[in-house]
């Protein structure tokens, strides 16, 4: 009897042993709730993927800009900053446990990267889709 309880308690506590994964989901889950409260509807991997690969033309430089310009076509691979050449750690949480962990960090980069790539901030819908897509990688 005693032993069975211990096993159950152990299984219940298991997720805490690997906190990064737990927190990663929490951060994105929390953001998705926030985006829904701002009027966004269902988030899909497909819509997020489409945005991630969509080409935008920068008004000033007339260059084509995409999320993949820095993060590459494969989110499991390290990227490279388009202008500075610096290595960027893979965005996919499956290979980079640090990715999508912190709400503050995600907000900061979505703001910067949407401004740079699309020329404006992303909408709640776009942000939710792209995070859903990234999380699936």
């Amino acid at each position: 009897m005693q032993k069975k309880h211990l096993v159950i308690a152990g299984i219940a506590l298991l997720p805490l042993v690997n906190p990064p994964l737990v927190y990663a989901t929490t951060a994105v889950e929390q953001l998705l709730v926030e985006y829904r409260s701002q009027g966004a509807t269902e988030f899909t991997v497909e819509a997020g993927k489409e945005l991630f690969f969509k080409e935008f033309v920068d008004a000033k430089s007339t260059q084509v800009r995409q999320c993949t310009t820095c993060h590459t076509d494969d989110l499991r691979q390290p990227g490279k900053h388009a202008k500075t050449g610096k290595r960027i750690d893979p965005l996919a949480p499956s290979v980079n446990p640090k990715s999508l962990m912190e709400i503050k960090n995600i907000n900061k980069w979505l703001k910067r990267n949407c401004e740079w790539t699309i020329g404006r901030e992303c909408t709640a819908q776009e942000k939710g889709d792209v995070l859903t897509f990234m999380q699936s990688q």
């Binding site: 490279k80 900053h81 500075t84 610096k86 740079w116």
Partner: protein, 377 residues
């Protein structure tokens, strides 16, 4: 043993130069050549410094050998006065020219000149390394400005040395032709040919062997770091001081490019850069005002003015006070140090930008930018 030349006059073979003197001569010549080839490019400073120590060590050996060595290597037999030199030189073009079995007066003067000037070059080199780079045996004693002065002395004396070597080589060729003896071969084999019987000097091979073994062991010891280096863990011959860091700076400035250490730009540049964070090279950093305040304090306290490294000192010294460059790559010192790199280097897929310092500099994240810690792919 007399042998015969084509006129059948007797010729005696005499060993004039012992082995240590000959090996010293050619090692010193190689050291000068290597020092010349390795100068002027920061990548090869460690080679240049090793060759400098070798050069210094060889000179010290020669000074000792000039006292305890064999007959023609001994300074007391090379001590010709100005009068003897003059007499030798004015009779040289005539039939009355004097022949010497060992060094002639001009050669002796060249030897003392090269030894003396060599010591000045070696010592000024060690002082430059200590002052400018804060490395080597006298690191920490002299400041950057004094190091720069030593560097000037080092350069000027090196040029004079080159002139002296040119005179020495011309002298060897002229004397070889006029006296009809191959002085260069004599410095290789140690042997000269003589019409009269003369006593050969001892070979002193064990001393030469010790000299060579010491040179090889020192080289192995000095460069051993390269043997264990890997692409991920490159060998840094010179390790710079640890520069102060700041957690917020590291977090906010290290994502798009490496977090450039504040000692790479003057205060006025950081003021301007942080004040224009909304238009940071087409990026909007969007940092909160209290973050900017923290970053600003750190940057201003650790700016190039504090001169913790040679790089910082040079950048501060050479950037006109009227300018506040927002780029390290726009400072005159940076441009001067990189002007010789070919244009393709910057287009290499792993470089992409001049500002991507750590594509080439192993110690870029530390901000020290030491010599011999960079490579070009």
């Amino acid at each position: 043993m007399p042998s015969s030349n084509h006129l059948s006059a007797p010729v005696y073979r005499v060993r004039v130069w012992d082995l240590p003197t000959r090996w010293f001569h050619w090692l010193l010549a190689s050291a000068v050549l290597a020092a010349w080839l390795s100068q002027g490019d920061s990548r090869y400073v460690d080679i240049h410094v090793f060759v400098g120590y070798l050069f210094f060590g060889l000179l010290v050996f020669r000074l000792v050998w000039g006292i305890v060595g064999t007959q023609h290597a001994c300074f007391r037999n090379l001590a010709f006065g100005g009068h003897a030199l003059w007499r030798y030189l004015i009779t040289l073009p005539t039939k009355q020219r004097q022949h010497f079995l060992g060094h002639n007066p001009a050669g002796s003067w060249a030897i003392f000149g090269i030894l003396g000037l060599g010591l000045v070059i070696a010592v000024s080199g060690i002082l430059t390394l200590g002052g400018e780079n804060q490395q080597g045996p006298v690191a920490g004693i002299f400041n950057f400005a004094q190091g720069e002065t030593f560097h000037l002395v080092h350069k000027v004396t090196a040029w004079i040395m080159l002139a002296l070597i040119a005179v020495h080589i011309s002298g060897v060729i002229i004397a070889s032709v006029l006296h009809r003896e191959n002085l260069i071969r004599a410095m290789v084999t140690g042997v000269k040919q003589c019409p009269t019987e003369q006593i050969s000097v001892a070979s002193q091979a064990p001393v030469a062997l010790v000299l060579l073994v010491v040179v090889i062991i020192s080289a192995g010891g000095y460069f051993r770091g390269y043997l264990t280096a890997t692409p991920d863990q490159p060998y840094l011959p010179f390790v710079g001081t640890t520069l102060p860091s700041n957690a917020l700076w590291q977090e906010e400035c290290d994502d798009c490019h490496l977090a450039y250490h504040p000692s790479l730009l003057p205060k006025r540049s950081w003021e301007k850069l942080l004040a224009t964070q909304q238009e940071h090279f087409e990026e909007n950093l969007g940092l909160a005002p209290e973050m900017i305040a923290t970053l600003r304090t750190f940057a201003l306290n650790q700016s190039a003015e504090t001169a913790p490294t040679k790089t910082a000192w040079k950048i501060y010294r050479t950037t006109p006070a009227s300018e506040s460059p927002l780029r390290i790559t726009e400072t005159p010192y940076w441009q001067q140090r990189h002007q010789r790199l070919p244009e393709e280097v910057w287009k290499h897929s792993e470089v992409k930008s001049k500002a991507n310092c750590d594509a080439c500099h192993f110690d870029a994240p530390q901000g020290t930018f030491e010599a011999s810690a960079m490579m070009v792919k």
